[in-house]
Amino acid sequence: MKIKLNIWKQANAKAKGKFEKYELDGVDAEMSFLEMLDSLNEKLIKEGKEPVAYEHDCHEAICGCCSLYINGHPHGPGKETATCQVHMRSFKDGDTITVEPWRAKSFPVLKDLMTDRNAFDKLMSAGGFVSIDAGQAPDANANLVGKIDADKAFDAAACIGCGACVAACKNSSATLFVAAKVSQLALLPQGKVEAKRRALNMVAKMDELGFGSCTNTGACEAECPKGIGIDFIAKLNREYLCASFSESE
């Protein structure tokens, strides 16, 4: 099939960007979206033109590198799907596809479709861990973890750190990302000890980094490639509120 592409091109972080139009023939329905972009790039390079810069790595929806905003949706069409899992069978011959980078103040564009998501790393450093050194751990069976809590913690821990939640949010809030980490660790006995501190510090850091506030719209949940639910935001709010009343640090 033949498709038309409308892709954001921007030389670097300081340059002004604009949409560039491309046409691509011979697109196979079985191609993944990334393979389609690869073949566009191969074509552009051979024509002596600048290829489109974009990020991808594992192609298994787990590394969180891929970050394309396709036709108005982070990671494009399909529920619980990362960009690398989008296939061209989701589109029709003659379709025009618009591809943009994540748009958020805290994720500045580096080039074309690449953004700087370092803010997520900073959020993690603000408290997304358990303070334990190698060699200090007790036996893994010493603290029993109920299956229901373990499963729930896993659901939160499934976050791949791609940033789709921020890109989807009209306020560019990172609340779902923070909620997932805070909830995962608060649900487990190992993470409970510093749960309050963690909730306070991560929320404060989120504000400091310029992420917006959560207004419970739910766009993050709808677009999350791992299906992480906003019930974790409720859990974060509970943790944060309790911590605000009791933590004096």
């Binding site: 191969e42 790393d121 861990f129 358990v130 299956k147 373990a150």
Partner: protein, 639 residues
């Protein structure tokens, strides 16, 4: 004189590591803050090593080419992580895990290293659990376990089908904590171009900042490479598309020996190639073989739908050939058996290069809910890629390049032949012999990072406490930077017509055809010629748009492909040299009458460690003889 001294401590196997730790040299906490360590790579070995060394008080600089330390391809490991905890009361022990690995590796691994890996396996699970890794639990709250191929106990811990992600994020969070404490400094989006060696010791690295294109010099007292494997040499593999062998090749060119480069695991359960544009193959976890049965039709070219083929007309070839282990034979055995059926015309699917992995019986017996609980995310992933529903029709699978047992040669200290340069995790050659058993990659990587490197690196640094961090203005740094820049300029100045990716694809084809699942002398020699031609073409007709002073993904690709080409030559040479079949390395000339792999122990019971001799010169072979004092070397049988 061979320079290969594995430095294995004296004494009984089970006491070696304890003795090492009790007698090794230490660095006092006061002195640690004067010592700098560079860690390259942030996967399941790198992040734990960086975090653990920082926790001890060293100054750690951590490098990765991705935008974040959370992206390394360890994240995609699915099935689990082994530990000899005997949680199931089914006869597991440190010795049993050690034995399984030695046997699984087809008696081509070093006993002392393997035993140590088994010894620290339980500590890893404790450590990860304490970090908040949500391992699967039983209703009573204890750890749940499952079974993996090549073993007869249940020792695998897991977090659904995303164990690698959870284990990696544990290490990542520990690292982020050290970054917050100021003990570790993170350098992301940095590609390592070279190792700097001063007076025979590794003292730093040269990197390219992938955003600005700037070449940077970084000095330290020791360098730890945790840069993973090179399975992407086949172009199509289960690895992330950016995984590469460049750091290992840089070390090799600077004098680190390369161990068993031809030992590359071909994973049996991957989604087959669907089209010519494909850039990557997707792994379906080995854990699926716990409940899935592998078969092809008994009649050649049977084109009926799988569900229309009755049981008596199906050939469950693994169960038929290997009744004791059935569908859970090790990966090399399963891969070759599938290839054998397809090569003889019994393969299924559009291309005939696939076999069925069928859950019909498990679904009937256990119900959809239970199967979904175990493999839900894998089934969903399969459906997304192929458009088929494994609950209704069997999966189709075929082997693909996966894990490299080979890597930089290291001694018991995990130190390469360059003093001060360590290699951990998949980047080294040490624990898996000629074939790796499932769920032991995370185990080995994490073990190296959390519990081995912190001791052995300290042992090395104890003699460096009065050494100052070398100046990055020294001659060696200037030279290394100049050389690195010259290579980048060379790429850009070719101004040819073919892209880096097109060369990578062709290299992958050559390697898959002649140096993949089955190898023979004629094919390997042909491969050497074809690679030499490809190399010439690469250096005369490569095209790279843009410059070196900006984000340039094509330039990054080109430098990886250039290294892959040289690595391919090394792999083929190693495969040619080893005229026996062992583990993943199957030489057609060396098989039994029944078609099984045949080792030749009196000639090849050694580690092949290759020394670089200069551009386009034949590498020099060093042999580390393997001694088996604690296991009886037998024909590896899974029948």
């Amino acid at each position: 004189m061979s320079k290969l001294d594995a430095k294995i401590p004296e004494g009984p196997l089970a006491e070696k590591w304890a003795k090492y730790k009790a007698t090794q040299k230490l660095v006092s906490p006061n002195n640690r803050k004067k010592l700098d360590i560079i860690v390259v790579g942030t996967g399941i070995a790198g992040s734990p090593a960086a975090a653990s060394l920082a926790e001890m008080g060293y100054n750690v600089k951590v490098f990765c080419f991705q935008d974040s330390a959370r992206r390394a391809h360890s994240v995609a490991a699915q099935g689990g992580i082994n530990a000899s905890r005997n949680n199931k009361n089914d006869g597991d022990s440190v010795y049993r895990l050690f034995y399984d690995m030695i046997k699984g590796g087809d008696y081509r691994a070093r006993e002392a290293n393997v035993y140590r890996a088994a010894e620290v396996s339980s500590d890893i699970i404790d450590q990860l659990t304490a970090q908040g890794v949500p391992f699967a639990r039983e209703y009573g709250g204890t750890l749940a376990n499952r079974t993996f191929g090549g073993v007869q106990v249940s020792r695998t811990n897991y977090a659904q089908g995303q164990t690698g992600q959870q284990v990696l994020l544990g290490g990542y969070s520990a690292l982020k904590r050290q970054v917050a404490l100021g003990k570790a400094t993170m350098y992301s989006r940095q590609q390592m171009l070279d190792i700097v060696v001063i007076d025979g010791k590794a003292r730093g690295i040269i990197t390219r900042n992938l955003i600005t294109g700037e070449i940077e010099r970084h000095a330290a007292h020791a360098v730890v490479l945790a840069t993973g494997g090179y399975g992407t040499i086949y172009y199509l593999s289960t690895l992330a598309v950016q995984s590469n062998g460049s750091a290992a090749m840089a070390a090799y060119r600077k004098g680190a020996f390369f161990g068993n480069p031809s030992f590359i695991q071909i994973h049996p359960t991957c989604i087959p190639v669907l089209n010519e544009y494909q850039s990557k193959l997707t792994l379906m976890s080995e854990s699926l073989r716990n409940d899935g049965r592998i078969w092809v039709p008994k009649a050649e070219g049977d084109k009926r739908k799988p569900k229309d083929i009755p049981d008596e007309e199906r050939d469950y070839f693994l169960e038929r050939r290997y009744p004791a282990f059935g569908n859970l034979v090790p990966r090399d055995v399963a891969s070759r058996a599938a290839k054998e059926r397809c090569d003889n015309g019994f393969g299924v699917g559009k291309t005939g290069l696939a076999v069925y992995l069928d859950f019909r019986d498990a679904l009937a017996k256990q119900g959809k809910k239970v199967i979904k609980g175990k493999y839900g995310n894998l089934f969903a992933m399969y459906e997304k890629i192929t458009g088929e529903v494994p609950y209704e029709t069997p999966m189709m699978i075929y082997p693909a390049g996966h894990y490299t047992m080979g890597g930089l040669w290291v001694d018991y200290n995990l130190q390469t032949t360059i003093p001060g340069l360590f290699a951990i995790g998949e980047a080294n050659f040490s624990e898996h012999g000629a074939n790796r058993l499932g769920a032991s990659a995370l185990m080995q990587g994490a073990g190296d990072g959390y519990f081995i490197a912190p001791y052995t690196v300290s042992n090395y640094l104890a003699d460096e406490i009065s050494t100052k961090v070398p100046s990055t203005d020294s001659q060696e740094f200037i030279e290394a930077e100049k050389d690195a820049k010259a290579v980048l300029d060379k790429f850009l100045n070719i101004k040819g017509t073919q892209t880096a990716t097109s060369f990578h694809k062709r290299l992958g084809q050559i390697m898959w055809t002649h140096s993949g699942m089955q190898r023979n002398e004629e094919g390997l020699k042909k491969a050497l010629m074809e690679i030499a031609d490809l190399k010439k073409e690469f250096w005369s007709d490569l095209i790279i748009p843009g410059t070196a002073n900006e984000i340039n993904q094509e330039l990054e690709k080109a430098s990886r492909v250039a290294d892959f080409i040289d690595l391919a030559i090394l792999i083929v040479n190693d495969a040619l040299n080893r005229k026996e079949s062992c583990g993943a390395h199957f030489r057609e000339e060396s098989r039994t009458e029944g078609g099984e792999a045949m080792r030749i122990d009196d000639k090849y019971s050694f580690v092949a460690a290759w020394e670089y001799q200069g551009i386009d010169k034949e590498p020099k072979l060093h042999k580390e003889d393997l001694k088996f004092e604690n296991v009886e070397v037998k024909v590896r049988s899974y029948k």
